[in-house]
């Protein structure tokens, strides 16, 4: 036995090391947010192997990046976390000389207050957080606005994101407040309003809510637009509703964290994503909206005209982009922990 261990040990260590010697990129991304084919294509073109790990909320990503320090080469935070992490010095300034394809992006999405001059971030995709219903279910078919989610007939039929901003946002919007409200009285009020809603919630999931919807575990889901897009393609009875009270919009950007080891590879990856063809492929497969103007032109008409992916101007006017809340975040967190423990 001892001999077997002695033989095995160096072999295994050796195996682990040979892998480590390859050209690599550690990508830390939202789950179901980048097509496998895009990663293989990148590896084929550059010889850089992508090691993907996933998260389901900005908070989880932030905590992990802060803790591990080194290890991740590329992350995809939402706007509020770009500004927070930028301020805390957790991000590396981008080298624009390496990003030749930057010009493909929609100028409206660049140079925003969360990251002036795009020092740290390059927009990856944007989308909305709204309601998907399975119209095969009579109770779900009746849902047209946020207030309907509280209806008792939806008991045990509702899915909410596992993300504090998205859930608190529902309460704030129903009360007519901002998605980014920082007034503690308003947050308190929204929190109280959300408590009875918890009786309707079957599951919290931001990873792959479409699964629960497609498997008939839930009939109504508050989810990100891309998830709704894939679900509606699989089951045409699933519809996506932009509630009249308003809804959240978000923009996720590619950033390089401070401790990144493979900085050049990370830049190569960003520049690769910025290609119009790649941008179009991602938007088509994931069902999120691309900030890449030229990529949108390459999309088939049914995607370009799909209101889930590219809502019209009037709908967009009701949406509100998420911004950093600073210290108020703690109030959201406190309410969120309490809500998740409510039966």
């Amino acid at each position: 036995m001892k001999r077997i261990i002695m033989i095995l040990l160096p072999l295994l260590v050796f195996a682990a090391n040979t892998w480590a010697a390859e050209k690599k990129l550690y990508l830390y991304c939202w789950s179901e947010y980048i097509p496998e084919a895009v990663l293989t294509q990148f590896t084929k073109e550059t010889g850089i192997k992508v090691v993907l790990s996933t998260y389901d909320s900005n908070e989880a990503m932030y905590a992990k990046v802060k803790m591990t320090g080194k290890g991740y080469d590329l992350i995809v935070p939402s706007t509020d976390f770009v500004s927070r992490m930028g301020k805390e010095g957790l991000l590396l300034p981008l080298d624009k000389a390496l990003l030749g394809n930057l010009g493909n992006l929609n100028p409206k999405m660049l140079n925003q207050p969360f990251d002036p001059g795009n020092a740290y971030s390059v927009p990856y995709m944007w989308g909305s957080t709204a309601i998907a219903v399975n119209s095969a279910d009579p109770a779900a078919a009746g849902v047209t606005c946020l207030a309907d989610l509280w209806k008792p007939e939806l008991k045990g039929k509702l899915l909410l994101p596992n993300d504090q901003r998205s859930v608190l946002g529902l309460g704030l919007k129903r009360l007519g407040f901002s998605w980014n409200d920082t007034d503690s009285a308003h947050i308190q009020k929204a929190c109280e309003l959300l408590k009875p809603l918890m009786a309707n919630v079957r599951v919290f999931d931001s990873d792959s809510p479409k699964q629960a919807l497609l498997n008939n575990e839930v009939q109504v889901a508050v989810l990100y637009s891309g998830e709704a897009y894939v679900a509606s393609r699989e089951n045409p009875k699933i519809h996506y509703i932009y509630p009249p009270e308003g809804f959240g919009l978000w923009l996720d950007s590619l950033c390089i964290p401070k401790g990144a080891k493979n900085v050049a590879n990370a830049h190569a990856f960003i520049n690769f994503i910025l290609q119009t063809k790649v941008g179009a492929a991602i938007s088509k497969e994931m069902g999120y909206s691309s900030p890449n103007l030229k990529a949108i032109d390459l999309l088939p008409a049914e995607v370009r005209a799909n209101p889930i992916v590219y809502p019209d101007e009037a709908t967009m006017a009701r949406g509100e982009f998420e911004v950093d809340l600073g210290k108020t975040e703690r109030l959201y967190e406190k309410c969120w922990t309490g809500l998740k423990a409510t039966k």
């Binding site: 040990l9 295994l12 260590v13 682990a16 993907l52 803790m67 290890g71």
Partner: protein
């Protein structure tokens, strides 16, 4: 009558223990992608599994960490057990109690306390932190197994060796270590399975540069049912079954 009731009861428990595994193996051959309806026999998912390099890498990482930490835990655990058995010193009982408490500690408590420790000395999470965490997890099990075996010893053997002029080191090398070997081996296997089975401690103590199989499965499971995961699990069940049967056979031959 009574015998029959007993038989049925035991059969029910085994049914409960094996049903989920059987169902999963069956579904790994199902051609349907999203739903659980049976749509015909296929080996497609196994083929996909073979081509998933990152999954295979995670599996190799798991084996590497289990081998390394089991071996290290055996060294530390055996030395600890021998020390508390052989020498009388202040704090001997305390060490024994501490080992027992460590063995009983819930994984989540071990996981977060080690995370806090690694953060306090700002160690980047990865192979080494996971290695140390798994060694910490396994040492008490090895130490207590080996200590149990040592208590069944005849102390006269050591005395006899002493009388014949053996020094402390020789006594350890030629008498104590060979006699404890079976317990050390049992401890090694126990540590190996503990390390392979662990999800919680690895969740807190490893980083992006060293992903292991359970964590990889965890992130796959969160994305819903996937036939590839079924196939992977079926392979793992097969490997375990073969390993268990062969070790049992080997042990029998030894006896």
């Amino acid at each position: 009558m009574k015998k029959q009731v007993q038989f049925i009861y035991a059969a029910l428990i085994y049914f409960f223990l094996y049903l989920p595994l059987a169902v999963m193996v069956a579904y790994s051959f199902n051609a349907s992608r999203f739903t659980m309806q049976w749509k015909g026999f296929t080996l497609h998912w196994y083929d996909q599994l073979l081509h998933d390099a990152s999954l295979i890498q995670a599996a190799l990482h798991s084996l590497a960490i289990a081998t390394c930490s089991a071996t290290a835990a055996c060294v530390v655990g055996t030395v600890t057990a021998l020390a508390i058995h052989r020498w009388r010193f202040a704090g001997r009982k305390t060490i024994h109690a501490v080992l027992f408490i460590m063995m009983m500690s819930p994984d989540i408590v071990i996981g977060i306390s080690l995370l806090v420790l690694f953060m306090a000395i700002s160690l980047p999470l990865g192979f080494w932190t996971l290695f140390m965490a798994h060694v910490t997890l396994c040492v008490p099990f090895v130490a207590i197994t080996v200590h149990g075996r040592l208590q069944g010893f005849d102390p006269h053997v050591v005395e006899a060796a002493r009388d014949l002029g053996a020094g402390e080191y020789e006594v350890w090398r030629h008498i104590i270590l060979p006699m404890t070997m079976p317990a050390v081996l049992a401890g090694w296997f126990m540590s190996f399975t503990l390390s392979l089975d662990d999800v919680i401690i690895a969740f807190f103590t490893t980083g992006p540069t060293f992903e292991i199989l359970p964590l990889r499965i965890y992130s796959m499971v969160r994305l819903g049912l996937k036939p590839e995961v079924n196939a992977l699990c079926a392979v793992m069940i097969l490997i375990t079954a073969v390993a268990v049967v062969t070790t049992q056979g080997l042990l029998k031959e030894r006896q």
